[in-house]
Symmetry: C2
Subunit: 327 residues, 2 copies
């Protein structure tokens, strides 16, 4: 691999001049600039990003820390993050934690020692606060947990999401509506629960719920619990689209028909929700916008050089499809 000094020698200039031509950081005579460009082309010089990072104290990397990349919602957000980062000359480090606190801590430490420029994180672990506190990076959380230190949060309106989904089921004629409630350490789960409860109260309906995690497997467990406790549920608010998939499967096994016997509203609005059969009525989050904005906030903080707290909340939309039926 050619070094900057090779280019400099070939062009008959100093490496400082080569650096200036590459980065446009100072004026270089047209004559020398031409020679440098020629030498770069001839040697196929590709500046060593590590050396650059060492001096600049920035590696143009953003860490994306998630419990599991198998969570389709998080992977769709990851897709948007990667795209926006790439557009801006940044790379994304994928950090899958399996909800393992040690892995989370290790990744945060690692990102900081790699001069990463920021962290985008979804994690419900209180132990993390300490780690996040000690690292000076801009941190954008996608799930504001109560006391955590972070520079910004990007979310969608979970209260509204819980509320409109519930109201929709009520309009569909459901009276016995059960919420699969997400882990309550996430503020989004709390908000959604509140929206649900408020909608119920406004219509004189008794709020009912079971606890559930977000992924396929946890969703299935949550659904089993739900059927045991509320075998006569008429409408179900799933914790996620993936959980809705598991839920539907269980209903199907029981010979119950959707939406005629039971109605389902999913959450997230992942691509899959539209493609599954039956197509899932769901509360869609603006996934693309969330991912892009998260990156945007990191870059903003990097440019400004200072960390200032921001909270972004996007609106959600209800997608009416085949797992609910309005009368």
């Amino acid at each position: 691999m050619a070094h900057i000094s090779d280019v400099a020698r070939l062009a008959g200039v100093s490496s400082a001049t080569v650096s200036r031509v590459i980065n446009g950081t100072a004026k270089v005579s047209e004559e020398k600039a031409r020679r440098v460009r020629k030498a770069i082309a001839e040697t196929g010089f590709n500046p060593n990003e590590i050396a650059r990072s060492l001096y600049k104290k920035s590696s143009r990397m953003i860490g994306y820390i998630v419990p599991s990349i198998l969570n389709i919602f998080l992977s769709e957000i990851g897709r948007a993050i990667e795209d926006e980062a790439f557009r801006n000359g940044y790379k994304v480090i994928l950090c899958n934690t399996d909800q393992n606190p040690e892995k989370e801590a290790a990744y945060i430490k690692m990102l900081s020692s790699m001069n990463a420029d920021g962290i985008i994180i979804t994690a419900n672990n209180e132990h993390l606060d300490e780690e996040l506190e000690s690292c000076r990076l801009p941190i954008v959380v996608l799930d504001k947990s109560a006391g955590a230190r972070y520079s910004a949060s990007v979310q969608s309106d979970s209260y509204e999401g819980g509320k409109i989904a519930t109201e929709h089921l009520i309009r569909c004629g459901c009276r016995k509506i059960v919420l699969m409630r997400g882990p309550q350490q996430y503020s989004s789960s709390q908000q959604r629960f509140l929206g649900y409860v408020d909608a119920c109260n406004e219509h004189g309906i008794q709020p009912l719920f079971v606890e559930s995690g977000f992924d396929y497997r946890e969703g299935r467990d949550g659904a089993r619990e739900l059927f045991r406790r509320f075998p006569d549920a008429e409408g179900i608010l799933a914790v996620s689209d993936m959980a809705a998939l598991s839920l539907y499967r269980l209903l199907h096994e029981q010979g119950r028909s959707v939406p005629d016997d039971v109605m389902i509203v999913g959450y997230d609005g992942v691509e899959l929700s539209e493609l599954m059969t039956p197509a899932l009525t769901t509360v869609a989050q603006p996934i693309e916008a969330i991912g892009r904005r998260a990156v945007g906030l990191i870059l903003e903080q990097v440019e400004k050089g200072k960390i200032e707290q921001r909270e972004i909340i996007f609106p959600v939309t209800l997608k009416l499809r085949e797992t609910t039926k309005q009368i």
Copy 2:
């Protein structure tokens, strides 16, 4: 952030000694080692990985280059790669190319300039060969394309996959079997096609096929084409589990019942295949093993310091579920 020199000063030793204690690269007297460890704890010293990488010419990073992380199969493999990499102290850079040759080239260049230790790639782009050629990194391809330069390939037995899936449909009584054929620049697609054709020929059946890409959307287009050309298909070999999902949806819309009117066999064996309704009969690839092995091969080449060609082929298994029915 504390530097190694701060630790050295506090412990009353040189930074060389601190480095030796951290890395265990040479003997240090127990007395000094103790002082160093104490100083590290007191300062909260976290070695700068970038500085280390610069000298060592290794950043302990592996690039994972894929057309789209939204492809569940690739994201499940990515999960295994991330896990295995982390176990070995490596990080994974997520490189989503959207099949965009420029993005692919940019990522390869970037990984090489970052002193990455290897690349794991799924890409069908011939233009890439040039880029891959010029970078000295170990490269593991997950889809050996004909002439590309790579150090190793990890795949599963696509010929066998195509064959057993076809034989299964034949055993189920299908005579009119259509293959959704994947892009033929992938050797895996070619092999699967061959397995399909051979199975057909052995049973005196006319091979039929349409072209299709792997993801939801491309799968839906492929499925539409299939129904136009072969409205009376009895059995369909989907190009992927995700395509099978789209396919099922279309059949459902047409009021055709699965498996009674038409049977479907998916491909890949992603988690979703088991959870969708009806559960998908599919040819399962050993996803976990493929991901782990790919990382293993990279690490092997890094240790040996030399690149030697290897080709790994894992066996596939047929998962019998609800979209086919043996008579």
